[in-house]
């Protein structure tokens, strides 16, 4: 059969892409491919099941009668037609000839279908493992994997009474729950000592079991099945155990695990080891024309079974099929967050702790909160100062937070005593302390930052077919700002779309324009001495010709902070506020905040400000929280004149730079004051203004421990005491109030300048763009910063010297416009009259 399309002039013949398997991972890869290169291939898909692609995770709600089969279809028949995909559903691929490059299959009618390929994707998923028991072939003995199994279970539940589920893992319990809801008496047979031993420790599992028993589910724990016994008509009638006991069974469901489905790949001679072995580009190591994706693929020895990693793989695969050739899959870290019959469970990492019996877990410590009557149990496992595992039952809202701490390897010594009580006890949160998404009404606000209700999130998940946290963030903006409601959003995702979603790629790229993360970009700029934004894009193979609004400002900052006075500062890669040196307001006007050294001003300055307000009819004058004066509603055309007429230095209130230095009155006037905080503030401000940083920077100086300048919530807070100055770092008064860490005690004002400057320079050199000092310190650890600044005097002095050198001669953008590369054309509109 000649499948080639006739060659027409001007049009290249399309390549033929064939996919074996029509499941979630493979079809997602095709969807991604169509987005990138809709016309590159003639696509043919073979699916063994006579259905279009459906959401396998939601078979349990179908079994339980909560959803219908129609509702769980992800891509209906029309989707395949609309995208010109030839779908052979109910058609089993029997052979692939790698030499002739032909896929040979057999359809339901027994006819042979063969399709040639240029490129082949194997997405055959996995098969349930069937215990080799006597009687396993009797009628009424099933696995639980696909629509046919589910339908057979539904049919059996309508006729019969007794069901036995072999396997007390997630799938088994979901099957048992569904059958129970359909009126059957269900016994779960489990070989282990406790349920879900791969996800739960014994205490949590026993709580789960008790809760399921209360609903009528029966259990045979530590039970070894010997045989399945049939009746005269060849249907199973009971399950026999090795101890001689037995339970009646009209239906037996085996849910003892899955195996990657690699039979076809093995027959093709592809290298298989716990799955079809693939590289970071999902290409099989045997045949460069063949890729494998999903549960059948083994990447670095792991065959993933969760949705998020498989979709991540699909994205990378699509990129290579589209011949972009730049994505790599680097593996995923996974956690388990399960919904079993309305019970919240979460586990991640080494949740067993010491109880695992492994020698490396000997050192583990555990923090446990247990309230069996209240149905809540939390166990956190620490090794040294790091969280390495978590197991939560009943209250899982902090699961994603623990997972993040675990994944980031953050040093938790400073929050250890509060760790158990969750993220909401560390700082302020924006969702009224809600912890159970299920208990929230549709109109309740989940994300306080972006005003997103639970109903809006549910609707977006359903309407747009969202699967991952990132997708929900992109579509709804929920949890996309401060992130404190991430746990709630994940819960909603779980209830609405099923399954678990807390898997994330190990390395987060800066943005969609590159595969590289912030650290790699920084390191490369330093190592290669890159000096322009375009040079970075070229050297690091950016996917887009000139980046995007997210990566360009970051790269520009890395350039100017790494190579001061050498790198080329690109104004068009800066956010508008740093391009116009004023703060844009919602109506397109700007605000102007002049620098008022340490919050001290004079009658002459105030008079000039008053005159400017009159002259330019500035509608609002407001005193800021940082002891300065904000003029709001300045027209862009007036900015340069306003600056000139005020005659005060630029306040950088618009920039990722040193903003205010807030001070109290101090010993000059205050009867309590022990130090001259105002002068200290002026000195700090004059030393470090014009300093660009990864994010905005705020200082405060108080003259005594009463701390009227609120130095405890600033990036650097200095508090005068009788014998000198205390220095605090990493405070933040923003979305989450973060109290600064005590850093060190200093004697003189010169020391305050040196230590503060050195800390700032370290942050400037190592902080990722848009990372506040608190987040930088959380990432690298306070001990690390102390080692660099406190213990290494030569390094400290050199950092301070570097900062001074970088700032020496830096222009004031309000007065030295040319030196500051301010494009003055922006202030004047073009007129055509």
């Amino acid at each position: 059969m000649d499948m080639r399309t006739p060659f027409t002039s001007g049009a290249r013949e399309k390549m033929k892409l064939v996919m074996v398997g029509n499941g979630m991972a493979g079809v997602r890869a095709i969807e991604e491919l169509l987005k990138l290169a809709p016309d590159l291939y003639d696509i043919t898909v073979f699916g063994a099941e006579p259905h279009p692609n459906y959401n396998r995770i939601l078979l349990s709600p179908v079994l339980a009668g909560e959803q219908t089969l129609e509702e769980i279809v992800l891509n209906d028949w029309a989707w395949y037609t609309d995208n010109n995909i030839t779908l052979h559903a109910g058609c089993k691929v029997t052979q692939v000839d790698r030499v002739k490059r032909v896929v040979i299959a057999q359809n339901a009618a027994g006819e042979t279908v063969s399709t040639p390929y240029d490129r082949l994707v194997i997405a055959t998923g996995s098969n349930p493992f069937i215990l080799p028991l006597p009687g396993k072939d009797l009628q009424g003995v099933l696995a639980y994997r696909d629509i046919a199994d589910t339908q057979a279970m539904i049919d059996a539940a309508a006729q019969f009474k007794h069901a036995v589920v072999i396997g007390g893992g997630l799938l088994g319990l979901e099957a048992a729950n569904g059958l129970m809801k359909r009126g059957m008496q269900v016994t779960v047979v489990h070989v282990g000592d406790w349920l879900m031993e791969r996800q739960l420790d014994k205490v949590a599992a026993q709580m789960l079991q008790a809760s399921l028993e209360a609903r009528g589910m029966q259990f045979r724990m530590s039970a070894q099945t010997a045989a399945l016994v049939g009746n005269d008509s060849g249907r199973v009638s009971q399950v026999e155990f090795k101890d001689g006991s037995h339970v009646p069974a009209d239906l037996v469901v085996m849910a003892v695990g899955i195996r990657p489905n690699t039979a076809l790949a093995e027959s093709m001679g592809l290298h298989v080891n716990r799955g079809i072995v693939v590289s970071d580009t999902l290409q099989t190591v045997t045949d460069p024309r063949i890729w494998a994706v999903g549960e059948c693929a083994a990447h670095r020895g792991i065959a993933y079974g969760l949705v998020a990693p498989l979709f991540e793989q699909g994205k990378v695969l699509a990129n290579h099929l589209a011949e972009f050739g730049i994505g790599r899959y680097l593996g995923s870290q996974t956690s388990t967050k399960l919904k079993v019959t309305g019970i919240d469970l979460f586990s991640a990492g080494d949740f067993m702790g010491k109880a695992s019996g492994r020698p490396e877990d000997e050192e583990c410590e555990e923090i446990v909160m247990s309230d069996p009557a209240g149905g809540v149990y939390k166990k956190l496992v620490l090794r040294g100062d790091q969280l390495v595992g978590a197991c939560l039952y009943g209250d899982t809202v902090d699961g994603s937070w623990y997972f993040k701490l675990l994944r980031d390897g953050r040093n938790v010594a400073d929050i250890r005593e509060k760790l158990m009580f969750g993220e909401s006890n560390i700082g302020d949160v924006g969702h009224q302390g809600q912890s159970k998404a299920a208990a929230m009404a549709d109109t309740d606000e989940v994300c306080g930052c972006n005003g997103v209700t639970k109903g809006a999130i549910c609707k977006a998940i359903k309407d747009k077919g969202l699967f991952t946290l990132d997708e929900v963030r992109k579509q709804t903006k929920a949890s996309a700002s401060c992130g404190s409601c991430t746990g709630l959003v994940e819960q909603i995702l779980m209830f609405t779309a099923g399954g678990d979603y807390s898997a994330t790629p190990k390395l987060k790229p800066m943005c969609g324009c590159t595969e590289h993360g912030h650290q790699v970009v920084r390191d490369t700029i330093r190592a290669q001495k890159l000096l322009t934004v375009g040079g970075v894009f070229k050297f690091m193979n950016w996917r887009t010709p000139n980046g995007c609004a997210s990566c360009r400002p970051a790269v520009n900052y890395y350039l100017i902070s790494t190579w001061p006075k050498e790198a080329q500062d690109d104004p068009q890669s800066r956010f508008i506020n740093e391009r116009s040196h004023a703060n844009i307001q919602k109506d397109g006007t700007y605000s102007v905040i002049p620098r008022m050294w340490a919050g001290e001003t004079t009658a002459a300055e105030l008079r000039r400000i008053a005159d400017v307000v009159d002259k330019y009819q500035i509608p609002t004058v407001k005193v800021t929280g940082g002891q300065r004066i904000d003029l709001l509603g300045v027209k862009k055309e007036d900015l340069v004149d306003v600056w000139k007429d005020i005659g005060m230095p630029c306040g950088h209130a618009y920039a990722k730079a040193l903003r205010t230095v807030k001070t109290c009155v101090g010993s000059e006037w205050c009867r309590m004051g022990t130090q001259d905080s105002t002068q200290m503030g002026k000195d700090l401000e004059k030393a470090m203004w014009r300093m660009y940083a990864p994010h905005k920077v705020k200082f405060a100086v108080s003259g005594c421990p009463r701390n009227c300048a609120e130095a405890g919530i600033k990036d650097v807070g200095i508090i005068g005491v009788d014998s000198g100055w205390e220095m605090y770092v990493g405070g933040n008064g923003g979305i989450k109030t973060e109290v600064a860490h005590f850093f060190t005690k200093l004697k003189t004002a010169e020391e305050v300048l040196e230590y503060t400057g050195a800390f700032m320079q370290l942050y400037r050199e190592e902080g990722w763009y848009l990372e506040r000092t608190v987040h930088y310190i959380n990432r690298v650890g306070l001990d690390y910063v102390k080692k660099k600044i406190l213990e290494d005097a030569p390094l400290r002095q050199s950092l301070w010297a570097q900062l001074q050198a970088a700032l020496d001669g830096e222009p004031d953008p309000w007065f030295e416009l040319q030196e500051a590369k301010v494009d003055t054309r922006q202030f004047v509109p073009i007129t055509t009259a």
Binding site: K464, K474, Q475, T544, P545, N546, G547, C548, A549, R552, P553, P571, Q572, S573, F575, I576, N577, R579, S580, I584, Q585, K586, D587, G588, T589, P619, T620, L632, G633, D823, R825, Q826, P829, I830, T831, T832, A833
Partner: protein, 129 residues
């Protein structure tokens, strides 16, 4: 026949940047230049909350609104999914390095659209006189 109005030279617009063109009536027109010296013209107003697109970061053939980072296509004014909305776009031509806008559009296209109101003028005066 289209009447064209001379605006400026291409090099008067920064590369990967923009200029505002004032009009007798209605909001400014923003003219953008990409890195291939192509010029695009949109009403200087984001379809989301009315932010001035001329102040955004230009990349590829898109501009990111400075207000809430919506991405707007320079060719057609369409917001990039998942956001939905469209900014009126203007006919533009470049001849011998000179940028022209359609004179009729410059005069009358999308003049009814306004900026959001900010500041004391937006204060409600109905209660508590």
């Amino acid at each position: 026949m289209t009447a064209w109005k001379e605006i400026c030279r291409v090099e008067d617009i920064p590369v990967l940047g923009s200029r505002r063109v004032a009009r007798d009536q209605g909001l400014d027109v923003a003219v953008f230049r990409n890195d291939a010296d192509e010029v695009f013209a949109l009403l200087d107003r984001c379809p989301h909350k009315g932010g001035p697109l001329s102040q955004g970061i230009v990349f590829g053939t898109s501009v990111a609104c400075p207000m809430h980072n919506w991405t707007i296509g320079l060719c057609d004014g369409q917001a990039q999914a998942p956001d939905e909305g469209c900014t009126p776009h203007f006919e533009v031509k470049v001849e011998h390095g000179v940028v022209f806008l359609n004179a009729d559009e410059l005069m009358g296209h999308a003049i009814e659209l306004t900026r959001p109101i900010a500041g004391p003028v937006s204060r409600k005066t109905t209660t508590n006189p």
